[in-house]
Amino acid sequence: MRGSLARRKWIDLMSARDEHGAIDRRMLLAFGASAVAVTAAASDAIARHDGMLAGPSEMVTNSLPWREGAADAPDAASPGPLKFLTAAEAAFLTAAVDRLIPPDPTGPSASEAGVVVFLDRQLAGAYGQGHHFYLEGPWSEGTESQGYQSRFTPAQFYRHAVAAIETAVGHANRGKTFKDLDPATQDTTLKRMESGDLALDGPITSKAFFAMFLQNVLEGYFADPLYGGNRGGKAWEMIGFPGAHYDYSPWVKAHGQRVPVQTVGLRGRAGWSRS
């Protein structure tokens, strides 16, 4: 019993690096590898909350298990250059996300809102590595109602799918890449992905990729700005969502009235910073 558990943990250890390259603290604790110093608050947050068999077992009696000043703070997108996407992948995604949410006076396009940065940081981080995915075999295609059945993490899924899409686009358009297609052809290509009509080499269907992609784009567009998308809360402003407000009780009875609050994220908003 212990052997099989330890094996699984070792596999996890090898794949459980966070976006800064640090090994997930939970795994270190499981192995007692205290020689490796891990100080990243982000790793600590994941460790405390990752579900089953995360940190050390604690025995609690006659007290409240509460640590002063400890907060499971979110892991914000880091600044700097792309961390996961290649230049070619970023070019594809920049063009594609702006067909899903195009520029116009209503509000920012997806790329203007930072969605490509969001996707890059997500794919480089815990989500991209298959955090909260079960990826063990054996693998079968399954029915639609059985959901995701790939062996790939989201990062691997994007890597394979984007390459396969560009290959298919090149075959159909004399070697052009997606970003060089005219907008109408880009839209047609995306619609063929959405329906699954675009045949791809390899194990990933265009339909499965499109479903994950559209979901991730909406996440980036409407998530808290701390994750790299929804820059300046402009996507929230476009629809009228005021953001991370604590208390709306003064407006509960103001039926049909505009709620006069400014859009704000978990890290505040422009003009709030002390410095």
Partner: protein, 588 residues
């Protein structure tokens, strides 16, 4: 070889709502109680403080408070002709993990069953004939509403439930649910204040001769101190209940109502990161000796206990019984066996309502903020000639306006592109959803069993779910959704989008975390896993809590009823079982 630990009186497997209820009840009776929790401790200030709680991406879409399928999942298929495959990503239902369980991230929708829900089979056969239940394996509960009522009331007092009674001791009350069974006391706190959408829904329903009332809520309308000294705050309508913890101490949860009290008891201990693998028994199999568990260092322990209570989520309680070989597993081919039988879900549909001329402001919300009608639930309406039994409540509900999940566009608008963008910008503030929350009745092909192929991280067979919507329930939801559309149209919207539930059941889109059945409570060992006190027929010092006890799922959220059943069981342990020195409380 597992290390053997010091004997305790009671070991609880899992520390969510029913673990907390059992711990409080049995510690106060003087027993030494140990709770084993598979994941971490979590508290309001550390894990869902108001400074970072309103984070849709992290909590909803990255599953921060949910069971991690990487370490614990199940396999799923629609029917026995298919190969079951692992649920590789959570979707349809979102079980919790860590201290508090799903009670941390629930909406706080606190319901009681109708009196007729307790005698579902006999009542429907009496009123509509035996053919009404053909093809269904539904059955009666081994107690009636009136016997369980004091325990419903116990839970309301712990939660401070906000609502308007419709029936106090048999006397109908204006503004409440006229169909509910008699209550022994009013709700501890008054209903939440209705925002615009539920107000419009309530007026439309009244205009149609229906009977709207405020949804009973574990999001408190005013500050409240419960009998254990826990102080809850007033809800601020921030719209982050479902899938989120409450940073404001305004949502009833194990953390806000019972755990602070339990953790002051010297005869209680909580052990975190401790996952139970098996219930151990004496050689003759008739007595539980304790449980084997493994901690996060991979060390295995045997924890001896005089009483074992399975207080984990429904799916895990069924899994543990099957893995421990306790009770006869259900076989759909023969109809024999009871463990895993009558797995049921909830039959959900909805209607999106759009206005050109009204600002709904859906971001002002709360988990149970709704005006609701019960006219089409259970047997509150005449089913003669309809071809189905059961029903749904219909709620004009605004749990919040989280924009990734809840940006609605009218029917026919594409899911992306400029047209989508303009519609999203126009209608986010001008729309809301009507929820049609329906019953799920048992049929023999729907059950839980051990998977023959896939193993979990401990090398044990995974739990296998076989489920699809029975024809009865599809007819039911079709009918009630049409009635809900009548209410929607009576609100004079610019458009509505009717989203009926279509087969087959899919584990991909979120529906609801109301998995029930599999450890049925019943009158005889032939038709149930546990007796009326939730005591195992096979192993009398083993008790089981949770929605697994339900022989089928009425059209209500399960927490109120599963909590009441836990209180009834705790009372029987304290007042009968201890005196009976571990004997069966009902003779088989």
């Amino acid at each position: 070889m597992a290390r053997t630990l010091k004997q305790v009186d009671v070991v609880l497997v899992g520390f969510g709502w029913t673990g907390a209820i059992m711990a409080q009840q049995l510690c106060d009776a003087g027993l030494n109680v140990l709770a084993l929790e598979r994941a971490a401790a979590q508290t309001t200030p550390e894990n869902f403080a108001t400074t970072f709680d309103q984070d849709e991406l992290r909590y909803m879409w990255r599953h921060h408070l949910f069971q991690n399928v990487k370490y614990s999942t199940l396999t799923f298929r629609n029917n026995t002709s298919q190969q079951a495959l692992p649920m590789r990503r959570l979707g349809s239902f979102l079980p919790g993990t860590a201290v508090g369980g799903a009670g941390v991230h629930w909406n706080g929708q606190i319901w009681r069953w109708l009196e007729t829900d307790f005698k579902l089979k006999s009542h429907n056969e009496q009123r509509y004939g035996k053919t009404a239940t053909a093809g269904l394996t539904i059955q009666d509960m081994p107690m009636g509403y009136r016997e369980l009522e004091p325990h419903y009331n116990q839970f309301d007092l712990v939660c401070g439930t906000s609502g308007q009674a419709g029936n106090l001791g048999g006397a109908k009350q204006p503004g409440g649910n006229p169909f509910e069974g008699p209550r022994s006391a009013p709700y501890p706190t008054p209903p939440l204040t209705m925002t615009y959408a539920p107000t419009l829904f309530g007026a439309a329903a009244t205009g149609l001769g229906l009977h709207p009332f405020p949804h009973p809520a574990g999001n408190l309308s005013q500050p409240y101190t419960n009998p254990f000294g826990a102080q809850l705050g007033a809800c601020t309508y921030c719209g982050f209940c479902e899938k989120f913890g409450c940073g404001n101490y305004a949502k009833s949860s194990p953390q806000t109502t019972l755990i602070p009290y339990i953790l002051t008891k010297p005869n209680f201990e909580l052990r975190t990161e401790s996952e139970v693998l098996k219930v151990e028994r004496t050689a003759d199999g008739k007595h539980a000796t304790g449980v084997t568990y493994v901690d996060s260092a991979g060390v295995e322990y045997f924890q001896p206990a005089s009483i074992v209570v399975l207080t984990a989520y429904q799916l895990h309680n069924v899994h543990l019984l099957l893995l421990s070989g306790i009770g006869k597993p259900f076989d759909p081919a023969t109809g024999e066996g009871v463990v895993g039988k009558n797995y049921c879900y909830q039959t959900m549909s909805g209607i999106d309502v759009f206005f050109d001329d009204k600002l709904i402001n859906p971001f002002i919300g709360a988990g149970a903020l709704a005006s609701v009608i019960d006219d089409y639930n259970g047997d509150n309406f005449d089913h003669s000639g309809l071809g189905f039994i059961g029903g749904s409540y219909v709620a004009g509900m605004v749990t919040g306006g989280r924009p990734i999940e809840m940006t609605r566009v009218p029917e026919g608008v594409p899911k992306w592109g400029l047209e989508w963008k303009k519609a999203a910008a126009k209608y986010y503030l001008r729309s809301f959803g009507i929820s049609v929350h329906g019953s799920s009745y048992a049929q023999a092909g729907n059950y839980l069993s051990l998977d023959p192929t896939y193993k979990d991280q401990f090398g044990r067979p995974m739990l296998r779910m076989t489920f699809d919507f029975p024809p009865n329930d599809l007819k039911m939801t079709d009918y009630v959704t049409d009635r809900a559309a009548e209410v929607a149209r009576a609100m004079s919207p610019s458009s509505i989008h009717i989203k009926k539930r279509q087969p087959p059941y899919s584990i991909v889109p979120y529906q609801t975390t109301h998995n029930v059945g599999g450890t049925m409570i019943g009158a005889t060992p032939a038709d149930s896993v546990v007796n009326r006190y939730s005591q195992s027929w096979d192993v009398p010092n083993l008790f089981v809590t949770g929605a697994g006890l339900f022989p089928q799922n009425p059209g209500y959220n399960p927490t109120g009823t599963l909590a009441a059943l836990a209180y009834m069981s705790a009372e029987a342990i304290k007042n009968q079982y201890l005196k009976a020195q571990g004997a069966p409380l009902v003779s088989a």
